[in-house]
Symmetry: C2
DNA sequence: AAAAGACATGCAACCGATTTGCAAAGTTTA
DNA sequence: TAAACTTTGCAAATCGGTTGCATGTCTTTT
């Protein structure tokens, strides 16, 4: 993705396109799997972890990325699809490979509806499947 | 539950019924919602956190309890149903209330099946719903 | 019963991920 | 340009989870 495209993603979400942010957004856009804070930190090797952290928080608040709790103890981040509002209906399943440790967004696999007990109100949902990804299943 | 019942649960899973373990198991059995390590620590007020931690680990390994990752950053624990083997088929949905912060096992709500992409192998699953529980929805 | 072994408990300290405080640098606005 | 605000960088705290190691307890063996 070129700078113009990246900038317009940020603008669309009212986030000022600073150099740092464009860099991080670009990096995220290149990833096949969701990235943790430390994944990103390693890839850049010159950026401050806290700045990275705050950049991700800003992105998350503005629904540029969503965070994924895959149960490994470190949050992963991945780009939201265009116009995503992170509502239960927008949510997809995530898959964590126990071998290569990568976590994928299965964007084509929406979380199936579950009836809740009477009176419970659903706001958010998280569904993570774990096992072997296609590369590791062989 | 009386001591005899508690002891037999432990024996059934080959865990030596020490005083500590009976105490913790009893406490867990009394809970309506899943408990974190610190929840339990507060309830007892005289036990060492590490001992509690190791007790829970032992219980978990022997499938007396299961741990729940509700996304809050602290693991919750709840009793397994009798004979539970913690296989994907045994799994139920969990619900975390964003108001009262309690996490419940919805044991009657099994996790719906999701087709995975070709070649992916499923080993484990986690599904957490978040929102308002019946008490907080009002 | 004494000694040996095995497991359980308690305390201190560490670890990794995340978060906060605060000062410095960069931008925007009056 | 100066004041006001935002972003960035570094240090350090917090928090949940975990390990090492000494001590205590219980069981088994001699």
């Amino acid at each position: 993705m070129n700078d113009k495209q990246l900038t317009s993603i940020l603008n669309a979400r009212s986030v000022k396109p600073t150099a740092m942010r464009l860099l991080v957004l670009d990096m995220l856009a290149q990833q096949e799997a969701a990235s943790s804070l430390s994944d990103l930190e390693e890839q850049f090797d010159k950026v401050d972890k806290v700045t990275l952290y705050r950049t991700l928080k800003t992105f998350e608040q503005h629904k540029i990325i969503h965070s994924i709790d895959d149960g490994t103890g470190s949050a992963k981040y991945a780009l939201c699809s265009e116009g995503c509002e992170c509502n239960p209906g927008d949510l997809h399943v995530h898959f964590h490979c126990q071998v290569c440790k990568r976590t994928f967004c299965l964007t084509d696999y929406t979380i199936p509806a579950v009836n809740l007990p009477h009176k419970f109100v659903l706001k958010e949902m998280n569904m993570v499947m774990k096992g072997l990804c296609e590369d590791c299943a062989g």
